[in-house]
Symmetry: C2
Subunit: 340 residues, 2 copies
């Protein structure tokens, strides 16, 4: 039996597979817009010179592996892998405008470098490039696949919007609202990535549903990790500033869990979140401490363990091919392990 | 022979036909996002109470009439009419963010009322609803039709982006650059509306191409009118503030024409456009006067007459059914007549 691959090897392999197809798709964009999307995708630097900064390729890896898990060849799922990566990047472009984020992957965001209009239009272009990629793929990707992807994007948009409205609300968000928001914002695209892979590989409805559930739970692990790293992560590793979520009074999962606790740190945190105007760096550190003291961090780590177990149970129920199962298990553990 | 219908009757009829299908499509959106899109579409007021403000329905009218022009029934083209209107409204939502516009159709824009994030996400939702509408339509709309529409949207995005970059440039845009920008920004969606109608009606490639060209020229008339009304129109009629385009130093078609003239008003206009910071209301009125004195307004009116003639020539070459031809001619004249 071959040695199990590391998460890094799996993601690098997926990036290598999907990169030429992604670049091929991007050639359909007009040069002015492409200058923005090439930069965003890490292919060029701010001056337009070639660069080789690639994203994590988690969604393409899931598409390709889900296809192989049901006995398909990775090539069958390639258009879906490209489309999922394009949608993900389009949503990041709009997200950075919405959150006014200045840094992503250790570099200025498109909106920081080229302005808000550029980031909105580059996002629109990548969204439509994703649609074009699937619309031109063979059946069933061009039909059922496109319908699944567009439905997932609508969920993603709902989740993004819930995120922005929750942060404006003064009363605490319920934990279930925050979890539903995370499921829609992050889980929907990761879940549909797995479903599209299974669809491309010719899986029946039952196996496809299990792989979609696998993705949904993995997505929850991923969002929990993102939320935890946003509070306690090292910016040198994450490439994003720490505590920006708290500054925006986001009701991320650990925060929502902390606020829902009936203890003194929860009450102090609620009072801090209820103030208006920017929080000082001392107040931000205090908030991070209070979230932990109120039990928000432990809750998030526990939730991540729960979703990892659910993900692996669904993976098993999909009766996956052995090699793909090992890789998908590794990716699920990676998503969960980032949190502890 | 029946009395020819007025443009108002034609547009009202198209709005009545497309409205139930548009509302049916909107039901697929989640309530929080729908609150935004219902307001934008004129179905509710700022408090969410029912309202009956409808848009011009120009694009749906063109889709339905192009279908009838080639012998099809309007019902065959309905999903394309809905998709074209959704794309148009999605692009308006993003446009208002990009231009920081506060008023549209005599009411505050979504971004003015609900914020930038809401307007970006509502636009994303309508873009994808358009894709979903066509993806679920019968062939050939779900295949070829979707590919045409998505290609037109990419052109529209290119045109929008050219618009924002042209206004930031200090050297004058060439007239051909400004015309290409207008063709992409406004012409592409109007042209594809006609092409989709013809496609739904079962037209051959030649008739479809002529109807697409008809739409492209009508789109140029429409953009010329928009540019002229933005400088010399009555806000009580247009529903938008006057001179906002000049304040943003937009290189709209009359401005680009004026700047390319070799006369004294052109030089004074160029100097005014080259200043930084907001223009006073006296300076804005002076700019409007200079554009006219440099010949920008006459040029735009002449161009509109030229594109109207080209539109009608292409319409004729498509051998349209008589009633639809009369209506399409009326709409082309409406688009052109708004300018003089």
């Amino acid at each position: 039996m071959p040695r199990a691959r590391s998460a890094g090897e799996i993601l690098a392999d997926a990036a290598c597979t999907v990169d030429p197809a992604l670049r091929q798709a991007a050639r359909h964009l007009a040069p002015p817009i492409r200058r923005l999307t090439d930069y965003h995708l890490g292919w060029t630097d701010a001056q337009g010179r070639p660069a080789t900064l690639t994203g994590k390729a988690l969604r393409p890896a899931l598409v390709l592996l889900a296809c192989q898990a049901v006995g398909g060849r990775a090539a069958q799922a390639l258009p879906a892998a490209v489309a999922a990566e394009l949608v993900h990047n389009a949503s990041l472009l709009h997200d950075d405008v919405i959150d006014n984020d200045q840094l992503r992957r250790h570099r200025p965001t498109v909106q920081a470098l080229f302005g808000t209009s550029a980031a909105i239009l580059a996002g629109d272009a990548l969204f439509f490039l994703a649609v074009q990629t699937l619309a031109q793929a063979p059946a069933p990707l061009c039909g059922t696949g496109l319908q699944w992807l567009t439905a997932a994007v609508q969920e993603l948009i709902d989740g993004e919007y819930a995120d922005t409205t929750l942060e404006q609300r003064t009363e605490p968000a319920s934990l279930s609202e925050a979890a539903a928001m995370a499921a829609a914002k992050t889980g929907s695209l990761i879940a549909v990535s797995c479903a599209l892979g299974a669809l491309a590989g010719g899986a029946d409805a039952r196996r496809t549903a299990h792989l979609r559930q696998f993705g949904a739970h993995l997505g929850q692990c991923f969002q929990l990790a993102d939320d935890i790293l946003g509070i306690w992560g090292d910016p040198a590793v994450t490439g994003k500033p720490r505590l920006a979520d708290l500054q925006a009074r986001k009701k991320s999962l650990p925060v929502a869990a902390a606020l829902s606790a009936a203890n003194e740190p929860a009450r102090e945190l609620a009072a801090l979140y209820a103030t208006s105007g920017p929080l000082s760096s001392d107040e931000l550190e205090r908030a991070a401490h209070l979230i932990k003291a109120a039990g928000g961090r432990d809750w998030a780590v526990g939730q991540s363990r729960h979703h990892l177990a659910q993900a692996l149970e669904n993976l098993h129920a999909a009766h996956p091919e052995q090699v793909a199962e090992a890789d998908l298990t590794t990716l699920a553990r990676l998503a969960a392990d980032r949190t502890h």
